[in-house]
């Protein structure tokens, strides 16, 4: 994206006066006060105020979560994170089973969705012609538009019986010696939640990966093909590595979605705060416990413990998202350099 200098940016080309650190940190802060026309100044300040609301809201959310979890933070400290007992009756709150459930279900989801999504992206960018690639990409993006409660509905009535009656016997027969595939299966559990999450995050991986793969310069492919590589070798050695940080970015974006997903997981994970080795066993996730118990929190400490789980979830998704965005920005910068 190379824009011609925009009229009001022409000033930016002139040597800037050395102002205080605040203006150096954010040059356009001085902007509204430099514009000659009062209308320009007013519109600039008005829209700037609304643009900054993203910051303000993120900060406000963090503050509100912290202030409403203070009782639990003070009482349990870091023990909250590795305590395994969640017993509202005896005022014992440890979030480890929920952390475990969230991480394991998201992990299963990525294990399935990443190869699948990347495979689709490679097919759409390397093999399919444009008239086929675009509509299929749109169809896959529609998967992201399906509300999570509808996924939950399908999960309860289709996926749960399927996992219980069809998938479990097969897995037990072939891989039953592994502890993760042992024990009885009720249909609801980690594995079911992971599979459902995988379907939900595939579009995020596919859509972004396809875009970065398509942005890989043709010269990369041509160089590899000219050396006698097959198309697959070209893809594996020249195209995918070139787009690596974008592909990783799409994975982190999908991870962030999976970590925070609430309804579909709540409906199929089984909602039992235990840590079990078997993936067939029911579990619980951070988002699910908030959804289930929030309106039942009868005393302040209970409510604060639930909000603290929300705070942890908030912090984790922000870190994962920030990482994803940085990786995506790196790709954008790289492709901008190539175009120059």
């Amino acid at each position: 994206m190379t824009d011609r200098p925009h009229p009001q940016n022409a000033e930016a080309l002139l040597p800037q006066p050395r102002t205080g650190w605040l203006l150096r940190l954010a040059p356009s802060l001085g902007g509204p006060f430099r514009e000659a026309n009062w209308g320009d100044r007013a519109l600039h300040i008005l829209t700037l105020g609304f643009a900054l609301s993203s910051f303000a809201l993120t900060a406000l959310i963090a503050l509100a979560l912290y202030r409403n979890s203070i009782l639990s933070i003070e009482k349990f400290g870091l023990r909250f994170l590795w305590g395994t007992t969640w017993d509202p009756v005896f005022e014992q709150f440890g979030a480890l089973p929920f952390l475990f459930g969230t991480l394991v279900s998201s992990g299963i989801a990525l294990l399935i969705a990443f190869p699948l999504g990347l495979g689709v992206a490679i097919f759409l960018s390397e093999l399919a012609p444009r008239w086929l690639s675009d509509p299929i990409a749109f169809l896959i993006e529609l998967l992201a538009a399906v509300p999570s409660v509808v996924y939950g509905l399908i999960g309860i009535f289709v996926l749960v019986p399927w996992v219980r009656d069809d998938l479990t016997p097969v897995l037990k027969k072939t891989l039953g010696f592994l502890p993760i595939f042992s024990g009885p299966s009720y249909g609801v559990g980690m594995l079911t939640a992971g599979i459902l999450l995988a379907v939900m995050v595939v579009p995020f991986i596919t859509s972004l990966s396809r875009e970065v793969l398509m942005a890989v310069p043709a010269s990369q492919r041509e160089a590899a093909l000219a050396l006698g590589a097959t198309r697959w070798e070209t893809t594996r050695m020249a195209v995918v590595p070139y787009a690596r940080s974008g592909v990783m970015g799409s994975m982190f974006l999908a991870l962030a979605r999976a970590l925070g997903e609430t309804m579909a997981v709540t409906m199929v994970i089984g909602n039992r705060p235990e840590i079990a080795a078997s993936l067939f066993a029911p579990g619980y996730s951070m988002a699910a416990v908030i959804a289930n118990e929030f309106t039942e929190a009868t005393y302040d400490l209970y409510l604060h413990a639930l909000v603290e789980i929300g705070l942890v979830l908030f912090a984790v998704t922000i870190v994962v998202n920030a990482l994803a965005r940085l990786l995506i920005l790196a790709v954008a910068r790289k492709s901008a350099e190539v175009q120059v």
Binding site: S28, L52, F123, S148, F157, A287
Partner: protein, 284 residues
């Protein structure tokens, strides 16, 4: 030997690309399975009562979800009143004043982060700032939660569509001596209006399906809600409560509600796609 190796590389080429093709088939297949299953189960459960009647008392078959349909409309109205102005004006800033400066960059980054915050956390936020002080669940609280969720996508899609307006239009207007604010209001925004409107429709369709932020803000209601400050039923929450309940007839109604919600959302997505022929549905 080298002939054999060449054959092997060729075979690997075909096998691997076939696998990527199967991946695609599987993923698209899942979408069609979901659509087909929803239509098959939902259409047979759908009847006129669903749209016009209130829910019957627990255990009694029949009834509908008229209150939830109206409730979802009310929640979306409040959400739009919050999300659209903030997102729209913020987007104008990013496109017209913050294109190449650091504030623009930081706002973009913060907006993407805000977009990634889990919906359940938005619910907690609305609970702490609206429900706790007012001591009651209300449509307003749910609408605020959804409205905040609308902001990031409204903001980024407005920015994207205003950026599509060619600079020559801005320059032509400025060259006539028209001040920049008037140029933005009379030239830039009207040119990008159709795109902005479509972006906002997509944004609304996305929050229309949200359940988690409503569970403890708008809560639910088995009757007509008595006002904007009363607990209000909504389609997604009804689907959730009905599907985890043990009654056969409730499951039937959950399918019907799921079908109505899904069709509404897919309709908006497909229409905007036709209007724009561009990818923006996901806010990625």
């Amino acid at each position: 030997m080298s002939e054999l190796k060449y054959r092997f590389r060729q075979a690997k080429n075909y096998v691997m690309f076939s696998i990527t093709f199967l991946c695609t088939l599987l993923t698209v297949g899942v979408l069609f399975f979901i659509l087909g299953y929803m239509v098959w189960h939902g259409a047979s459960s759908l009847n006129w009562d669903f749209f016009t009647k209130l829910p019957k008392p627990v255990g009694e078959p029949g009834g509908g979800m008229a209150n939830a349909i109206v409730g979802t409309g009310k929640l979306l109205l409040i959400a739009a009143l919050i999300g659209v102005p903030v997102g729209f004006l913020g987007g104008v800033y990013l496109s017209e004043f913050g294109r190449n400066n650091r504030i623009g960059f930081l706002v973009r980054y913060a907006t993407d982060i805000l977009n990634g915050i889990p919906s359940i956390v938005m619910g907690i936020f609305a609970y702490t700032v609206v429900v706790l002080p007012m001591r009651r669940f209300s449509a307003v609280a749910g609408g605020i939660a959804l409205g905040i969720m609308m902001i990031p996508i409204a903001l980024r899609s407005t920015e994207e569509f205003l950026k599509l307006v060619p600079n020559s239009l801005r320059e032509a207007s400025l060259a006539l001596g028209i001040p920049q604010w008037k140029t933005i209001i009379r030239v830039v925004i009207p040119t990008g209006f159709r795109g902005i409107l479509t972006g906002i429709m997509l944004d609304l369709s996305r929050v229309a399906g949200e359940t988690a932020p409503l569970l403890f803000t708008a809560f639910s209601n088995r009757f007509w809600s008595a006002g904007w400050l009363q607990p209000t039923a909504s389609l997604p929450v009804m689907i959730y409560t009905y599907s985890i309940a043990p009654y056969e007839d409730w499951h039937r109604q959950a399918w019907a509600a799921g079908l109505v919600l899904l069709m509404l959302i897919l309709f908006v997505n497909v229409v905007s796609r036709l209007v724009l022929r561009r990818r923006l549905a996901m806010g990625v």
